[in-house]
Amino acid sequence: MTVRMKDERGRMKVSRAAGTQVTSHESRVTSAGRRRFMLGTAGLTFGIAVGAPKLLRAQAAAKRAVINPWVTLYTDGTVEIQSPAAEMGQGSLTSLPRIVADEMDADWSKVKIVPAYPTGKVYGNPLFGGEQYTAGSATVTGYFNSQRQFGAQVRQVLIDNAAERWGVPGGEVTTIPGFALHEKSGRRLSYGEIAAFAKVPATAPEVGVEPLATAQFRLIGHDVTRVDIPSKVNGTAQYSIDVQVPGMIYGAILREPTEGAAPERIDETAARAIEGVIRVVPLKYGVGVLAETPWAAFKAKNALAVTWKRARGTGFSSAKGFEAFTAVARDPAQSGIAWETHGDVPAALARATRIVEGEYRADYAYHAQMEPLNSVAAVSPAGDAVEVWAGTQSQSITVVAVAGALGIPVERVKFNGTLLGGGFGRRGNRDVEFIVDSVLMSKAAGRPVKVLWTREDDVHNGRFRPLYVNRIRAALDDSGRVVAWHHRVVCDEVLAFMDPVRYKVSKGRDNIAMRGTELPTYAIPARLTEGLMQPTGMRTNPLRAIGVGQNSFANEVFIDELAVKQGVDPLEFRKRLLDKTPLAQRARNVLDEVAKMADWSRKRPDRGLGVAYLDYSGTQVAGIAEVSVNKESGAITVHDFWCAIDCGVAVHPDNVIAQTESSIVYGLGLALTERITIADGKVEQSNFFNYQVPRMADVPQIHVKLVQTRNHPTGAGQMATPLVPSAISNAVFQLTGARLRQQPMLAERVKVALAEQGRLA
């Protein structure tokens, strides 16, 4: 709680002084970043004494022991656990502390979860180089081992302290939830009692954790109320859009319609005439308006007349993109950057008896998180310090970007994380432009500013899943076995735009665009996947399921086509294609499970069934869709969707199911209706009437089976999303014989495919 208490204390102080004074927060950023275990409380205690003397007085009644940077025990029994991930609905605010609490044998009812402050790499995800970055469904999987380890160390420190107090060997002391226990003498000490006298060793105790196969978990694997949920039923949950700071005014920004097209001429006459408008702020990338109310700011933004310079993307359109990308995909002279290479693909293709080809497309897609982007900043009048409130997928990235925008050290940034009204990949780009917005506007205003994006801004300034053309060639041997696989991906570059820092070390391997082309469980001896990233100047970002959402669609529809060509049941075909590894065995299990759930072999009149399978970062998922098609309109209806998921140990099973339900519906929207189109470099859609996301009536019956295995936990937040378009496309084929090879499968596209099928038949 050290950090957080000072945090809150600091916030109150700044709030009172907002607009006139922003305190320095250097003292709070202790040396924690240099020591992974941070067992010497002296460092932190000293930091508090220097940094917040008032806090120490306020805290005098409740003594506490900081066991490591993750856990602070209070004499009243409260166990504070730092939770490092952003909470955007995926539940890790609850899941990670459950892991610590389980290993330390804490009484869950005494646990208080606090968001971890971005402090060096202390709270970073090991999978992201120590950055606090919540993405890729990588939170539980990335933190699982270290959280167990930290929890076990806390428990050991408590045991050692109790043993010393009782004068017994440490080996005789055990724990029950919230207590150290000496069974021989019947003595017990609560964790709160131990906190009163605990001595914390200078180095972390060497303590192991039980191997996953045999570990007995008390909290992990058991459902619990998510800690954020009670605040989400009464309006008290705080998102950044809800932040109120004394003296705060409002900002809206008319952003360049195409990235890099800076303002050329600005006519602000009409905007300035609106009562409540304070001033117009020219920015490099747009024109900002400061006003006393959000409504005045929005009106003034709409009243601005701005002409823009030309940018790289000016003149670009979705239609031109498809045309150009298709030409690239089909041109063998253009080779891309290899993503996955196994065996000798050119040789295998050369000697193949039969080569099958398929081409797949996807339009741009938009995140549509329910909370339009926004942030609040209070820059000091001298411009040398800032306090910022934001819902971000990366606390680490945010403090660096904010410091960079002002040209100040990160120690001069005070960050206040809030809940996110949805993330889906929209809020983790390296420049966090929607947060820098309020920083620049507050600097211009000399007082705190809340910058709000309207929904129209959120769509127009969207950073999308790129436009894709995927081309797959497979070589078959005489027996019909797939012996080689060549997958070319042509799409707008993503990593280069959204994260230049990671791009620099990527050697051009665009992990956001390319993930999902690899086929780790299918026994195809020669595989080459390559990326040909196109610098179109369009704004791109990871979007739930990133490249997997399209690349797996290409893979799984193509595999269906291979199965059909050979007259093999598509589900059986996949099972045969799986190799003999333990991972592939788990894949077979989820396929068998989902087949059972859907009663796969039972034919339905006027309905089609389609299957898809995916290894997504080690998580095994399989799905089956049951669809019907309105032949007049071309509209697809999905009646049922069955899904079996094996993500190893599920820390919070009900939440894995909730996330899977959520990913299925997200995939449904991407599959059927969600499409962004570009004309002359600008986005054509503007709000939910022309970017249609699934509503309650659109949602099929969803049946999720969580297959629990004792494997290291892998992701759960988006794994089912890519299954949905593939399973739907395959189901439509089974029903009609028409192949749908482009997302979204809009009714008019289905009609065209049906007509074509009619001609062929």
Partner: protein, 155 residues
């Protein structure tokens, strides 16, 4: 419309006076003038339902309701639904673990509360029809239906 007016509305039983542009949506008055931020901005155009409140007891989209037309009317927001999260829907929402990101849920609960006032025992189909205006991007839809049915049973 560029000059501000002063007007009075009744929110959760209390008279509140504000000075704003007459075409300011009720939503922004609630959120920024009255600092009742439980009601959410989602689209500003009546497409998503995140801003749902009750106006004289009927569900209304506060993002498209100009304040000049709300004068003297009675508004109930999520903050006024119950003093202590004790409304059957709020309890059911927790029991069914409905919210994910949670951003749309004030609007969902307010619409559901209006439904149950009209129809204490709605069928599944009636729930889906009534809840249509409200988007949940995290797709907690099935849990919303389950929670409404639970609240109807337990109320």
């Amino acid at each position: 419309m560029s000059q501000m007016i002063t007007t009075t509305i009744v929110v959760n039983g209390a008279k509140r006076s504000v000075t704003v542009h007459p075409d300011t949506p009720l939503l922004w008055v609630l959120r920024e003038n009255l600092k009742m931020t439980g009601t959410k901005y989602g689209c500003g155009a009546g497409h998503c339902g995140a801003c749902t409140v009750h106006l004289d007891g009927r569900p209304a989209l506060s993002c498209t309701l100009e304040i000049q037309h709300v004068a003297g009317k009675s508004v109930t927001t999520i903050e006024g639904l119950s003093p202590d999260s004790s409304h059957p829907l709020q309890k059911a929402w927790i029991a069914e673990q409905v919210p994910q990101c949670g951003y749309c849920q004030s609007g969902q609960i307010m619409r559901a509360a209006a439904l149950l006032k009209d129809k204490p025992r709605p069928s599944g189909a009636e729930i889906v029809e009534y809840m249509k205006p409200n988007i949940c991007r995290c797709a907690s839809y099935h849990r919303i239906v389950a929670a409404i049915q639970r609240a109807a049973k337990e109320a």
